[in-house]
Structures are given as structure tokens and as C-alpha cells.
């Protein structure tokens, strides 16, 4: 336990991933959902960087791309939230159920 191996980092990443998943599936506020998605992405980043310690710099480069992607996605997603908020005055995801049977 004291010797920090790669597994420790992987476990931390897994925990963050699970927390992020719970947040996506559970919270009603759409902004919080987006933040949970950021959590997931960061867990993935941690995983990548941890493995890059063992296997070269590729992991780090990939994680830079992931961060870039996360930025773009957050921007667009928040724009959508704002557009939707103008229409319906709500940020609760379960009130947005028009596309149903």
C-alpha cells in the first residue's frame, strides 16, 4: 500500500468515473450533469496519464486532446442550455420530455 503503484491511480480514476456516472444518471439539474460529465472525462485523463508513465508520452498527448474536446463540448452544451432555458425557464432535465410516445 505504501508503495504507490499504477493500480492506485487506476482505482482513483475508477472512483471518479463511478461518481461521475452517478451524477449523470441521478441529478436533475442539467448544469450539474455537465459537470459530472467533466468528472468522467477527468477520470479518463488520469487513467491515460497514469499509463503514460509506463508506456511513453502518448497518453499525455491523448489527454491534451481530451481536454480540448471537453472544452468544445462544454461550450456547445452550455450554449444549448442557455437556448433551452430561454424557451422553457427550467434547468431540470426531467421536465424536458417532449420527445416521448
Amino acid at each position: 500500500m505504501l508503495q504507490i503503484g499504477i493500480a492506485h491511480y487506476l482505482v482513483v480514476a475508477a472512483c471518479l468515473f463511478i461518481l461521475g456516472t452517478i451524477g449523470v444518471l441521478t441529478r436533475r439539474n442539467v448544469v450539474v450533469i455537465l459537470m459530472s460529465i467533466e468528472l468522467i472525462l477527468n477520470a479518463v485523463n488520469l487513467n491515460l496519464v497514469a499509463f503514460s508513465r509506463l508506456y511513453g508520452l502518448h497518453g499525455q498527448v491523448f489527454s491534451i486532446f481530451v481536454i480540448t474536446d471537453a472544452a468544445a463540448e462544454a461550450a456547445v452544451g452550455l450554449g444549448i442550455i442557455i437556448a433551452f432555458f430561454r424557451n422553457k425557464e427550467t434547468v431540470n432535465v426531467d421536465e424536458v420530455d417532449l420527445l416521448k410516445w
Binding site: 500500500m1 508503495q3 459537470m35 468528472l39 508513465r53 498527448v61 432555458f85
Partner: protein, 170 residues
């Protein structure tokens, strides 16, 4: 540089990250969630440093915290907060959802245990002395040139998309 007190800082930073992550998903006030997310991200930056990836740590802090989280805070300000505080936090399916996610976690753990033999070594070796940033940069503009350009186009698309989304009249 010579690592010092690695286990202590590891456990500290990872506890901070996990705890903050938990708090992110359970706070009623979205601003609080955002703050705790920032804490999580900062902890992760620290973990990156411990993993001899200073560039990624720097990018994380500048981009993620300084850019994305600020954006998040702006948007939270734009949408109605008072109303959000009075509503339920969790939706109707949170029991099942939590169960499913925990199950997934259990599955991950199982996978880890099964696959420990695959990992090359558990003890991480020391890192050679070289400039991480330079190496990353060389790799970014060399091997990963195409993904780099595509990412820039992606950012352009995102900018245009965000602008279009936020306009009142198209």
C-alpha cells in the same frame, strides 16, 4: 527532481479529489458543485505532477479550471438559481441508477484483479531528466499533427456552435 513523501501526497490528493467529486454530485447549489469541481481538478493537476506530466498539469489548470469552469460559473449565473434551490436534487430513478453505477464499479474492480498480471510492474521506475513540455510538443507537432489540426477545426466548430446557440435570433 527528486520525489519526496510520495504516498502521503498521493493519498492526500486522491482523497481530496474523490471527496470533492462526491460533493460535486451531491450539492444542491450548483455554484457549490462548480467550486468543488474546481477543487477536484486542482487535485488532479497535483496528481499529474506526481506522474511526471507537468505539461498536462499546466494545461489542466489553465484550460480546464481557468477556462471551462469559469464558463460553467457564468452559465450558472445566467440560469435561475433560486428556483433550483427549492427543487429536488435527485430524479426518480436514483436508486436504480446508483445501483447500476456501483455494479459497474464492482465490475471494474473485478477486471483490475483479473488483469493485474498484465501490468508490467507495480512499482513505478524513476523518470529520466528531460523537458516534458518539449517532448510533448515534439510529439504533438510530429506524430499527432493530423489530430492536432482536426482538434483546432473542432474548436472552431464549437465556437460557431456556441455563438449560434446563444443568439436570440438566428
Amino acid at each position: 527532481m527528486t520525489p519526496v513523501a510520495t504516498p502521503f501526497f498521493f493519498y492526500l490528493l486522491s482523497a481530496m479529489a474523490v471527496l470533492s467529486g462526491l460533493l460535486v454530485i451531491t450539492r444542491k447549489n450548483p455554484v457549490h458543485s462548480a467550486i468543488f469541481l474546481i477543487v477536484t481538478l486542482l487535485s488532479l493537476a497535483g496528481l499529474y505532477l506526481m506522474l511526471y506530466a507537468p505539461f498536462v498539469a499546466g494545461v489542466q489548470i489553465i484550460l480546464y479550471v481557468g477556462g471551462i469552469m469559469v464558463l460553467f460559473l457564468f452559465v450558472i449565473m445566467l440560469v435561475n438559481i433560486e428556483r433550483a434551490e427549492k427543487e429536488h436534487r435527485f430524479n426518480k430513478q436514483w436508486h436504480v441508477a446508483t445501483l447500476a453505477a456501483l455494479l459497474l464499479g464492482a465490475l471494474f474492480v473485478t477486471v483490475y484483479y483479473r488483469g493485474t498480471d498484465l501490468l508490467a510492474q507495480r512499482i513505478l521506475p524513476a523518470m529520466p531528466e528531460s523537458s516534458n513540455t518539449q517532448s510533448v510538443g515534439t510529439m504533438l507537432y510530429g506524430t499527432y499533427m493530423l489530430p492536432f489540426e482536426i482538434a483546432s477545426v473542432l474548436l472552431l466548430v464549437a465556437i460557431v456552435g456556441a455563438v449560434v446557440m446563444a443568439k436570440k435570433r438566428i
